[in-house]
């Protein structure tokens, strides 16, 4: 297990390093001045530009340019936005918090609803409820997220008025963003209206979370159903039945852990899918996360912000994938046997 963990972590580091190389190359390939793309400082800025040239080792070889770029990246100096002139890194961190808040909630929601529903559908295989669950999940899966989001907005926000149309929180509450996650920010603040603010934040939150979770939720239902059906046919389950164990005990103690093994393996993949959807959802709901800032920076040709956002999202996806793989190997011992024996 230790050797496997070290191998995974090394792979993570190497992939992250390759990402920085890619970013460096992209800075050169993007139109415009390379240094401006990298640091966000324009030629017209005069002295600042000349200083930046020194800092980024511009006159020297590509190798030392890359080294300076890499050091800046490590120190959290990701340049400044071409539009707002604010530091990219300082801006991205609260955005990351906002994105993570949406992601974690959507993922939790789809796990909490999807896994039991999939298991239920498998137990009732070919029954009426199985058909309903599978039919609804297939149709929900085939609806594109951007369309579903707009339909949901039209219905719940415009027609019914159950949710605000956009944003994270009513600005009247005047909560200063610290972590970016609106719930944590409210709890951290000492505003006298914390309760009301929390209620408002939840009203803003539920609709994007629901729309965002539609894809992983429907996928999880299908994955869980297949995994459970597979486990239900296994010999050890028949043996457990023949020993007279109760059905509920069999489901909780034998079916669920074995089905979860398949589901956990899929979670990393689902997370990557979620990340590509979140860009659209954040833009539609005007959620101040990385996704909406990424789209905005693309429109504004704001290269430092664009690459900073890309790097953060890519690093997040990599981290989650490695974490899922490590958990999978740690929790399910026969996976480790396969790792070491089948090489």
């Amino acid at each position: 297990m230790i050797r496997y963990s070290i191998r995974r972590l090394l792979l993570l580091l190497i992939t992250l390093w390759l990402l920085t190389v890619l970013m460096f190359v992209l800075h050169h390939l993007f139109p415009g001045d390379t240094l401006t793309n990298m640091s966000g400082i324009r030629q017209s800025d005069g002295v600042a530009y000349q200083q930046a040239q020194q800092h980024y080792a511009m006159p020297q070889s590509w190798l030392s340019q890359y080294w300076q770029f890499f050091l800046h990246l490590l120190h959290g100096d990701w340049g400044q936005s071409l539009v707002t002139q604010r530091g990219v890194f300082a801006d991205i961190m609260p955005q990351l918090g906002a994105t993570l808040e949406l992601t974690i909630m959507a993922m939790t929601l789809s796990l909490v609803i999807g896994v039991p529903m999939g298991m239920y559908a498998a137990v009732q295989q070919r029954g009426p409820l199985d058909r309903v669950i599978m039919g609804v999940s297939l149709s929900a899966y085939s609806i594109p997220a951007f369309w579903l989001a707009q339909l949901a907005l039209l219905l719940f926000a415009v027609k019914l008025g159950w949710a605000p149309i956009s944003g994270q929180l009513n600005p009247l509450f005047n909560i200063t963003p610290v972590t970016g996650s609106v719930i944590i920010d409210i709890l951290l603040s000492d505003s006298p209206y914390r309760g009301a603010a929390l209620k408002d934040a939840l009203q803003h939150l539920w609709l994007p979370v629901l729309v965002l979770s539609s894809i992983p939720l429907t996928m999880l239902i299908r994955i869980t159903r297949n995994a459970t059906l597979d486990v239900l046919q296994q010999n050890y389950l028949r043996a457990a039945r023949s020993r007279g164990l109760s059905e509920s005990r069999i489901m909780v103690k034998h079916v669920m852990p074995n089905a979860m093994q398949v589901i956990v393996r899929q979670l990393g993949l689902q997370f990557s899918l979620l990340m590509s959807n979140i860009i659209i959802i954040e833009t539609i709901f005007n959620w101040p996360g990385i996704g909406s800032s990424l789209i905005k920076s693309i429109y504004e040709r704001d290269y430092p912000v664009m690459l900073g956002g890309l790097f953060t999202l890519a690093a997040l996806i990599l981290l989650v994938n490695v974490a899922v793989e490590l958990y999978h190997a740690w929790r399910y011992p026969q996976v480790r046997k396969e790792l070491y024996a089948e090489r």
């Binding site: 010999n235 050890y236 023949s242 020993r243 103690k253 074995n258 093994q261 026969q334």
Partner: protein
């Protein structure tokens, strides 16, 4: 006293041309404390019979019987839930590839402790847990596993087949079943492990009066303590008798063919053909009518297109129109 009494058990599935009888009017009686061996080739329906007794029934099978009694329970009259309670309490089964019958994601200790009935435990929560653990260790000792700690912590994939089979026997005897059904438990194992497991089963049989229904392919590798043997071919019962009766004077041509085929009886000269039963086992879709051995039987005559009745000569039963020796006083 027979604890298991099966008369004319039939299992049918639907085929393209009407129903297919996988098991055709099979009868089986097991007395209390008896070791009964069921011998048959693969596909003869012996595992199906075991599954029908335990109630692992696929919804597509039609199981009918004149009588399927376990002690004083009519198993066919019970609903599935009641039946599972009865069979779960009184019967247990072990299988050919024990590894696949253990949950791969739970430690052996957890699975073994789960099998111990809660009613046997004493005391409150913590004491019950400790009691459960010591009982599990004792079970492992009883099946001949000495380093219980290592085995309890292991996962199924870490065990060898022999140890896994011992563990599954330990799980099977955790609630002191009256009947243990062993479905080819040693087929994939080396002779040494096989004799260990046979010794273990016969010890359990002697010490607790546990009946054993042993299912095997090889007539010559039966447990020495076997009281009676049933020969099955293609879902039909061919012959039932004590090992002595069957091995010394078989009455059914199938038993004789099985005996002459087994390598233990050979003293044929070099480079001669080994005796085999001509033809092959018919497929499910093309089962012969009457005695299903008919097309392969050297003694078959016209009468064999009618299924022979099971006839009795003292304790020796056979289903053949033309038994190998002249039999007069049967009924």
């Amino acid at each position: 006293m027979n604890i298991l009494d099966i008369r004319n058990l039939t299992i049918e599935i639907d085929g393209d041309n009407g129903p297919i009888r996988l098991v055709d009017k099979l009868s089986l009686q097991i007395a209390e404390g008896e070791i009964h061996t069921l011998v048959g080739e693969s596909g003869s329906g012996k595992s199906l019979l075991a599954k029908a007794i335990l109630g692992f029934i696929n919804p597509r099978w039609r199981v009918t019987a004149d009588r399927l009694w376990w002690r004083h329970y009519d198993l066919l009259a019970l609903n599935p839930e009641q039946r599972r309670v009865v069979t779960g309490r009184d019967m247990a089964m072990i299988f050919q590839n024990p590894g696949s019958y253990l949950d791969p994601n739970a430690s052996i200790g957890a699975q073994l402790q789960e099998c111990i009935p809660s009613g046997d435990l004493k005391g409150l929560y913590l004491r019950r847990r400790a009691d459960r653990k010591t009982r599990a260790e004792r079970l492992l000792h009883r099946v001949g596993i000495k380093d219980h700690d290592a085995v309890m912590q292991a996962y199924p994939f870490e065990l060898s087949d022999g140890v896994a089979q011992k563990v599954s026997i330990a799980m099977a005897i955790a609630h002191n079943p009256k009947l243990l059904i062993a479905d080819e438990p040693t087929t994939a194992m080396e002779p040494q492990t096989r004799s260990q497991i046979y010794r273990l089963l016969s010890k359990l049989n002697a010490s607790q009066g546990m009946s054993v229904l042993m299912i095997t392919q090889d007539l010559t590798a039966i447990m020495p303590e076997t009281k009676r043997i049933s020969m099955v071919y293609c879902g039909q019962l061919m012959e039932v008798g004590t090992p002595q009766q069957l091995l010394e004077q078989p009455l059914h041509p199938y038993t004789e063919a099985m005996l002459s085929m087994s390598l233990a009886n050979h003293n044929t000269p070099v480079k001669t053909r080994l005796p085999t039963l001509g033809g092959s086992i018919p497929t499910m879709a093309n089962l012969p009518i009457g005695c299903r051995l008919g097309p392969r039987c050297q003694h078959a005559r016209r009468a064999c297109i009618d299924t022979p009745r099971l006839r009795k000569l003292k304790q020796h039963q056979f289903a053949c129109h033309y038994p190998l020796i002249e039999v007069k006083n049967y009924d």
